[in-house]
């Protein structure tokens, strides 16, 4: 009696959970690939290799190349300070780091738009110095740095807590200075946690849309990142273009997932 009952509920939960995932995650994912290659390989490839498409791809990769290293270095340094140096301000820093998780990307875009705009606190000064932030690469990078700020810190902090300090103490007892201890002991021990954070940061920067759309102006061939390119193509009824660019982004997202799973296993080992 009980066995049949628990069997029914087991199957019920399985069907509910997997059915929900199929409708919400798998079906849409399959759909992108289907829609993209519905009329063969040529339309999406043409769209992506168009000058605007290529430029968008390059700009997105450039943004990744700047924003990810910045937040990685900051993230490791910040995590070290939070975990290894007790300070009364740590709780505040910890709270500020979580802000980008909870704030709307549109609000983040607006905040940069106002700060670096012509009437903003920093806009006029920078304009005089000949630095253009809005509607150009620096603005896009700033938006991406803002939205992806927490990942490396959040992934590194627990690993640092976990490894403890015994080996670092041993190293310093043996005469290693802080720099040597960091490179030879600490960094190798936390590398998979950091790598995981880097992967999440990269995924977020690659796909950031809301914040970038406000600060970049989405000028084709100039300040259009790949996600913005998708929107523009869609608005212009160039659906093969929109799907072609989407497939590139989806492919990058799947690579990210794969990397996340491999790193999870590494850390487990």
């Amino acid at each position: 009696m009980r066995a049949t009952n628990s069997n029914t509920s087991r199957w019920g939960l399985r069907v509910l959970g997997l059915g929900y995932l199929t409708l919400l995650l798998l079906a849409p994912l399959v759909m992108i690939f289907y829609k993209t290659f519905e009329h063969g390989l040529a339309p999406p490839i043409d769209a992506i290799t168009s000058p605007d498409g290529l430029h968008a791809l390059k700009l997105t990769l450039l943004t990744v190349a700047i924003a990810v290293p910045l937040n990685t270095v900051f993230g490791i340094g910040c995590a070290l300070l939070l975990v290894r140096h007790k300070w009364k301000g740590n709780a505040v820093i910890d709270a500020i780091i979580n802000l980008p998780f909870a704030i709307s990307p549109i609000v983040i875009g607006l905040s940069l738009f106002l700060l670096y705009g012509t009437d903003g606190w920093l806009g006029p000064t920078l304009a005089e110095a000949g630095i253009k932030v809005l509607f150009s690469v620096p603005g896009i990078v700033l938006a991406c740095v803002f939205v992806s700020l927490p990942f490396v810190v959040r992934e590194t902090v627990p690993v640092l807590q976990e490894i403890g300090t015994d080996q670092e103490q041993a190293a310093s007892t043996l005469g290693a200075n802080a720099w040597q201890t960091f490179w030879r002991i600490t960094l190798p021990a936390i590398r998979w946690g950091v790598a995981y954070g880097v992967v999440l940061t990269t995924a977020r920067v690659l796909g950031e849309f809301g914040a970038v759309t406000i600060v970049s102006g989405s000028i084709s061939g100039q300040t259009q990142t790949l996600p913005l390119f998708v929107e523009k193509q869609f608005e212009n009824f160039n659906f093969p273009g929109a799907y072609g660019a989407s497939v590139v982004l989806a492919f990058l997202a799947l690579s990210t997932l794969l990397a996340m799973n491999l790193l999870k296993r590494k850390e487990d080992a």
């Binding site: 975990v83 290894r84 301000g89 709270a95 709307s104 700020l149 627990p158 807590q161 670092e168 982004l249």
Partner: protein, 301 residues
């Protein structure tokens, strides 16, 4: 244990920068955060109050702003309720059930974190839009807002509940069952209370994400008056040059974000109160990695 002693007993700490170095590092961190995060946000608050409190209030209570905020909050509430239920079910089958392809299902849960929101919007539109191959037409409806938000917030509850289920002591359930408790009673009296901290934290994070979501809603639900969520309203205000109106609604969203983050921190403190490493630093269920892997070695013996 280790983590605790590492943070608590300063003199024994390992890699430490000399006093000046730590100060310099701290200064850099504070400067970076101020420049990247705080200063821009301060600009929004300042802009929203430029015309005084009355202008701010007028902007927030304008009919369009109110209807967008209302729609956003109602849809987000619906979304977190569905998330709480299905997130727990999915976490449950991932931990307690065995079926072929489980590892792949577990991996695909994080897809919404990895997939760009605009791509999510486009693909939901292709599947559930006017040319829907499955005959479900949701484009430009409020249901589309809900579905888009469900998509992007899916991982939060799953990843917050999963580790708690993993480390739960199953002997308690066995004991309850041997004393004659039925499945529902066991869930209600034993399992659910243990999952509650994770569930609450996941729900709060999903709610925060839903309130501010933009990209995934944009193409699928559109910016029609009846489907205009607050983030889309803010973009429209910016485009029409009404910075004060955009900032005022942004400040409302910002306040909600702060409250929800504070709630997550409190929930975690409550959930950690008899846990080994309570360093006071927050842990986010962004990855699942923090939880799923590390906690079971301790439980094993």
């Amino acid at each position: 244990m280790e983590a605790h002693s590492a943070t608590a007993s300063a003199p024994r700490a390992g890699l430490r920068l000399p006093g000046v170095g730590a100060g310099l590092g701290r200064g850099t961190v504070v400067l970076y955060l101020s420049l990247i995060v705080l200063l821009p946000l301060a600009a929004v608050v300042s802009q929203s109050l430029e015309g005084g409190i009355s202008t701010f209030w007028e902007a927030v209570t304008s009919p369009l702003a109110v209807s967008s905020l209302k729609l956003t909050v109602i849809c987000s509430l619906i979304v977190v309720v569905i998330n709480a239920i299905f997130g727990t079910i999915i976490a449950w089958i991932l931990v307690r059930d065995e079926f072929p392809g489980k590892a792949a299902v577990n991996a695909v849960i994080d897809l919404p974190f990895a997939l760009p929101t605009i791509v999510a919007s486009l693909t939901l539109l292709a599947l559930y839009g006017n040319d829907s191959p499955v005959g479900i037409h949701l484009a430009a409806t409020r249901a589309a807002v809900v579905v888009a938000l469900l998509f992007v917030t899916l991982p939060f509850v799953v990843r917050a509940v999963q580790p708690l289920l993993l480390e739960m002591d199953r002997e308690m359930e066995a004991a309850a069952a041997s004393l004659g408790a039925g499945g529902l009673t066991i869930f209600r009296r034993i399992i659910f209370p243990n999952l509650l901290p994770g569930l609450a934290a996941g729900v709060a994070l999903a709610f925060a994400r839903a309130l501010g979501e933009f990209g995934s809603v944009l193409l699928f639900a559109g910016g029609l008056p009846q489907t205009m969520v607050s983030s889309i309203f803010i973009r429209q205000q910016i485009e029409s040059g009404n910075n004060v109106g955009a900032s005022a609604v942004s400040v409302v969203l910002l306040a909600a974000s702060l409250l929800l983050l504070a709630a997550v921190t409190l929930i975690q403190r409550w959930g950690n109160r008899h846990e080994r490493s309570s360093s006071g630093l927050t842990v986010m269920p962004m990855s699942g990695e923090d939880f799923t892997v590390k906690k079971d070695p301790d439980e094993g013996h």
